[in-house]
Symmetry: C2
Subunit: 314 residues, 2 copies
Amino acid sequence: MDIPALVADARSGQARAVARLISLVEDESPHLRAVAVALTPFVGRARVLGLTGPPGVGKSTATSMLIAAFRARDLRVGVLAIDPSSPFSGGALLGDRIRMHDHATDPAVFIRSMATRGHLGGLATATPQALRVLDAAGCDVVLIETVGVGQSEVDIVGLADTTVVLLAPGMGDGIQAAKAGILEIADVFVVNKADRDGAEQTVRDLKHMISLGRRSLGPAWRQPIVATVASAGEGVDEVMAALDTHHDWLVSHGELDARRARRAEREIEAIAVASLRSRLGGVRGGEALSGLARRVAAGELDPYAAADTLIAGT
Amino acid sequence: MDIPALVADARSGQARAVARLISLVEDESPHLRAVAVALTPFVGRARVLGLTGPPGVGKSTATSMLIAAFRARDLRVGVLAIDPSSPFSGGALLGDRIRMHDHATDPAVFIRSMATRGHLGGLATATPQALRVLDAAGCDVVLIETVGVGQSEVDIVGLADTTVVLLAPGMGDGIQAAKAGILEIADVFVVNKADRDGAEQTVRDLKHMISLGRRSLGPAWRQPIVATVASAGEGVDEVMAALDTHHDWLVSHGELDARRARRAEREIEAIAVASLRSRLGGVRGGEALSGLARRVAAGELDPYAAADTLIAGT
C-alpha cells in the first residue's frame, strides 16, 4: 500500500482517502506506523474543539450548529463522534447521526463515528491518530464529540485546545452534573435547550459551582456560560465568540503550545502502555493469566504476586 | 504496622480497622502488598452486586433500599460508592451521601466513597482491593455503586457477580440510554421512579432493546425488568427476588466461578499494567516523555517512534 500517496490524496480533499486512513489507524493495521510517519510533517495546524456533556443535552445538534458556523467562515471541518461500544450500536446509534446529515454532502465537512469496540485503550490510542489524519488532511477545525460523561470520555475530549461542556435544564440537579466530573475540564459552558423551564436555574447553579471551584493548573480563565437553543441556531454567535476568545487567550498565555504538548504526552504514553499491555496478553501471557486468576479467585494467591509472575513471564 | 492484627480487627467487626485497610489500598501505600497477602485467606465469600446507570436515576436511593432489604435478612453489607474526581467533590458530593445516612449508625453496614482523584488506573486497581477488604472483613454482600455511564464505570461495576442497571423515565430516549453502553452489562434492569410519566414507555423501550440485543458470552439469561419507586421502597421485594434468581442461575450454570475468575484476571492485569506504567513515568521517564512530546507536537517525530524510545529508556 502506498501510504504517502494516500496521505497526498487526503490532503487534496479526497474524502475516501481520509476515511481509508482513519480506518487504518482505527483498526490498528500493520500500516499504523507508516501512516503516523507519513502524517507527521503535516500536523499541528488544526484547531481542536472538544464537546461533551451528559446524554440527552443535544450534543449532536450543537455539533451540527457549530459545523454550520465554521462553514460560514469558509473553514474545513472534521468531526470525530465517539460512541461507547454497545451490542445495540449496529442499529440504534445510526439514528442519532441523522442530525448531522445536513452536512453530509458538503465536501468541506468530514464526519466520522469512532466506536470503542469494548476496548477503551483502543479508543484512547485511535482517537488521537484519527485527529492527526484530519489535521494533516487540511481540516481547519476538528470537533471531537463524546457521548457519556465518564472519566474515559473526559480523557478523550481532553485532547482538545478548547473544551465545551453542554448541559441542559432538567437533566438532574447541579450536584448530579458535578458528579459527572466534567465541570473541571470545561473551558466554555453551553446551557442548551435554554427555552425550557429551569434554564435560568441551571445557569445560576453553574455560576455558583464555578465560584466554588478553582482550576488547579495554569493561569486563570473565567469559564463563560452561554445559553443556546441549538436546534434553532439561537446563541450560535455567542458560542463562537466564546470559542474565539478562549483561543486568543490560549495563544496569548502560551497555553496552546502547553496543551498540545500535554496532548502529545498522553498520546505517547497511551501508545507505550498499549504496547506493554499487548506483551502481557500474548499467547503464553493469556494462558498464564487464566491460571493465575483461578488461584487468586480461590484465595490461594494474592493479586500482586500474580501480577509480578505475569510480568516476569513476558 | 501490624497488618495481620489490623485484618483480625476488621474481621471482628471493627469499622475503623476496615476503614484503615481501605485507606491503605486506596493510597497505594507501601503496605499494599502486605495487606493483599493478609486478606487472601479470607476472600471469596461475599456476594458482589454492581449498581449503575445515568446520573439522576436515583442510584443512591436504590442502594439505600437494597441495604435495608439485606439488613432485614440479617446480612452484613458493604458499600463502595465510586465518584469521579471533581474539584467540587469536597463540597457538593457529600450531600448526595446523605441519602444513605439511614444506615450510617448500623454497625453491620459499612459505606465507603472511593474517589478517582483524576487517575482512572488508580481506581481500577484500588476498587478490587477495597472489595477484597470488605469481603475478608465478613461482609455477606458488597454493593458497588458507580455514578456516570462511561466505559470506565462499566469496567468497575463489571467486578460484580450481578449487575443492576438503573434507568428512569424521562432521562432521554432509549437511544441515548443505549449509547451509554450500559445495557450490555445488565443482569437485572430496574426502572426507578416508576410513578412518573413515561415509566411504561421506558419499560417497553427496554423490552424492545433486549429483544434486539444478544449477549455474546455464556449461556442465555433473560434480563428481567423491575419497576421501583426506591424512595418509597416500592418494588424492593421484586428486585431482591430478581437478584436471588440471578444468583441461583449463576451458581447452577457454573457462571459464578467463571465470573470471579474473569474478575481476578482483570485485577491482575490492571495491577500489572499499572506497574509497567509506573516504570514509564519514573523520573527519567518523565523528563524523556516531555522532551519527546515537544517533538511530536512540533511535527518532528511520530508518536509511535516516541513510544518506542520511551519504552526502550525504562
